[in-house]
């Protein structure tokens, strides 16, 4: 075991799969000699050569489009989109093409592509680099969307994503890259996609979150504890598919839930989880299921980021609103 940051765990997972499977190729803008702008691919070109780890021209739609083509010949592409804010350039290649490849070829071909990309806010990037666009992809049939909340999960989920035979959008929250270390086994392991993790048990209310918001929820749970409120915290780990069973089981126990997402409010993951809960467990509920989200405005310039992003205080407040309903 070693103490790793999330970025180290990601590099380690890539290294593991590059070693395991010679069909795994890692490519994108600046991922070669430079090792990626966040250093996620540091040292990989040196170790595996330019044939396996390489820089592409600056064209996102080309990067993903080419990955789809490579998939026809057994290649397992692991392209990087340098910042998820730039994924719009590749929207058709991802949602229009990769996601539908299996269906459109009558099951003959599939696209075992893992698109890695830094996303989320709170690290004061220049404008348009930070955003939470996961909902756009979670809505697309044919795509899996995986969002780890820390180093251990990042490694197990990334290895599993690469081995998965369907396209996976693997989103790495920029704030989590170096914010803490955790024990991560040196040897390989996988975590099942579509399975949530209960991070903390509690009987009074369920807090459902993913990515960086898991940590806000855990912090909120600690504060609630001081007021004798026992919050259960669920880390979704993947938002497509969603582990509805774990959520419903918990809500049946607690009868209350707050769903948290860093993304803007409308048409979001949180909204769809609220629907699942009320469709499946309405008679178990003691209060409406509430949401904590960012407001429906454009992702702000960095000056306003701090006040714009949801935080643990917002979660505590919503949890109390539910308890006092």
């Amino acid at each position: 075991m070693a103490q790793m940051t999330m970025i180290q765990a990601i590099t380690n997972a890539l290294q593991t799969e590059l070693k395991n499977d010679e069909d795994v190729l890692v490519f994108g803008e600046d991922v070669g000699q430079n090792g990626g702008v966040f250093r996620a691919t540091e040292g990989l070109q040196e170790e595996f050569g330019e044939e396996r780890v390489f820089d592409t021209p600056l064209a996102e739609s080309g990067i993903i489009g080419m990955a789809v083509g490579m998939s026809t010949q057994g290649v397992r592409p692991v392209p990087e989109i340098q910042f998820f804010g730039f994924v719009f350039e590749a929207m058709d290649a991802v949602s229009g093409q990769a996601a539908r490849f299996r269906y459109r070829s009558g099951g003959r071909w599939h696209a075992p592509i893992t698109i890695r990309s830094p996303f989320g806010g709170g690290v004061h990037t220049p404008e348009l680099h930070a955003d939470s666009l996961e909902g756009l992809f979670a809505q697309q049939p044919g795509l899996k969307v995986v969002i780890p909340s820390g180093p251990y999960d990042a490694k197990g989920l990334l290895i599993q994503s690469i081995r998965d035979n369907d396209p996976v959008i693997f989103l790495e929250h920029m704030k989590l890259y170096r914010s803490f270390r955790e024990e991560v086994p040196e040897e390989e392991y996988t975590l099942e996609l579509g399975k949530a993790e209960t991070k903390r048990e509690g009987k009074d209310i369920t807090l459902i979150a993913y990515g960086a918001m898991v940590h806000a929820a855990l912090k909120a749970a600690e504060e609630l504890e001081e007021e004798n409120i026992q919050a259960e915290v669920i880390d979704l780990r993947t938002i497509a598919p969603i582990d509805v069973d774990t959520i419903i089981e918990s809500v049946k126990k607690t009868s209350r839930a707050v769903v948290i997402q860093e993304a803007q409010r409308k048409a979001g993951i949180a909204a769809s989880i609220v629907s699942e809960i009320q469709e499946r467990a309405i008679l178990h509920l003691e209060a409406p299921v509430l949401r904590v989200t960012a407001p429906d405005t454009v992702y702000p310039f960095s000056e306003a980021e701090e006040i714009w992003l949801p935080n643990h205080k917002d979660i505590v407040e919503k949890a109390k609103e539910s308890i006092n309903f």
Partner: protein
């Protein structure tokens, strides 16, 4: 293909005119104007880097080394033309009329930094690469439709020529014969990716050929070449003769941004032989008796004063209004957004 696009130069590194046909067009006023603006933006650039290091602004992309390309091209425009810059073209923006305080604000993460002075046609800097190219074509098309003589210039880098928007923009400019200047600064790198990995073609100018767009490759560190070639393209556009592509070959002296470490990817010594474009003009001025120490000293004092007061104004700028976030989403915000705004302001009020 390279031989079809020889690099055009008017002056050499030592500041000697090598193309005498321009001798009459270059007078003291022009030389001093070019020198003034190049010095001005360099001072801004160096100040911004040091502010970033002190934590007084955010991540910053320096343009040092590209002053001739940015100043020469921006000064070739007229007041009512349109400028579509990237994140590295605040040198051109400042020269064309952006306010320095707002330029500092932009790099300090403030939305106000995008807003040009009233009546000035400067688009917010493009951050997603190459997106500004079709925008510039559209603005030029709209000017043409109105029957004006105004043109639009799009700035972009070598890396940008790989994006679909570059090719789509060129094709649209060509099909609709819009008055657009496609101004490329080829600084040899797109972050860490050197041009020979970005493209197999030897020049960027040749990419215009496929679209039948008059294209030229120039020494982008020769401010005269930049100024006069841009002027020619501008005149052609104003005369209704359509778009032009200019490849200005230059060099980014420093890092891609303050968050980048070029020693990871640039061979030691690469670029050491590049004569700084300002030094080159200085050589020309000295060769031609335009070098006037008193004028230089006065100019430097003035510029220092300008940069310092812009910085002061940036630091004293009133804090951002949280309601701006909500008010600038739609003409008329939907009821849910109004509700969100109220609870948000309420929350901030309580904190």
């Amino acid at each position: 293909m390279e031989e079809h696009f020889p690099m055009k130069k008017i002056m050499d590194d030592q500041g000697n005119l090598i193309d005498s046909s321009y001798a009459n067009d270059i007078d003291e006023d022009l030389v001093k104007k070019l020198y003034y603006h190049m010095s001005r933006i360099r001072l801004f650039d160096r100040k911004a880097i040091s502010l970033q290091r002190q934590g007084r602004i955010g991540t910053y992309p320096p343009f040092e080394g590209q002053e001739a390309s940015q100043v020469g091209s921006a000064l070739a425009l007229d007041t009512d033309d349109w400028l579509f810059p990237t994140y590295r073209d605040h040198g051109a923006m400042l020269t064309f009329g952006s306010e320095m305080t707002r330029t500092f604000l932009y790099w300090n993460g403030r939305a106000e930094g995008c807003v040009p002075p009233e009546g000035k046609n400067i688009f917010p800097a493009a951050v997603p690469i190459a997106t500004q190219i079709p925008h510039a074509v559209g603005a030029a098309w709209a000017e043409k439709r109105k029957g004006t003589k105004n043109i639009a210039i799009a700035y972009f880098g070598d890396g940008a020529t790989s994006e679909g928007d570059f090719h789509e923009g060129l094709n649209f400019a060509s099909v609709f014969q819009t008055p657009t200047i496609l101004f490329n600064q080829n600084n040899g790198y797109a972050i860490s990716v050197p041009i020979e990995k970005q493209m197999h073609s030897k020049t960027i100018a040749q990419k215009g050929l496929a679209y039948d767009i008059p294209s030229v490759r120039i020494d982008g560190n020769d401010v005269f070449a930049v100024y006069f070639e841009t002027k020619k393209a501008v005149e052609r556009a104003r005369a209704g003769e359509g778009p032009s592509l200019i490849e200005a070959v230059t060099w980014r002296t420093g890092a891609h941004t303050t968050a980048d470490d070029p020693s990871k990817y640039r061979p030691v010594g690469q670029g050491d032989n590049v004569v700084h474009p300002i030094e080159r003009l200085e050589n020309y001025m000295k060769n031609n008796d335009f070098w006037d120490e008193t004028w230089i000293a006065k100019m430097e004092a003035e510029l220092t004063q300008e940069v310092e007061s812009a910085l002061e104004a940036m630091e004293e700028y009133p804090p951002a209004k949280p309601e701006d976030l909500f008010d600038h989403v739609f003409t008329n915000p939907p009821s849910q957004l109004v509700e969100q705004k109220e609870s948000y302001l309420d929350l901030i009020g309580r904190e």
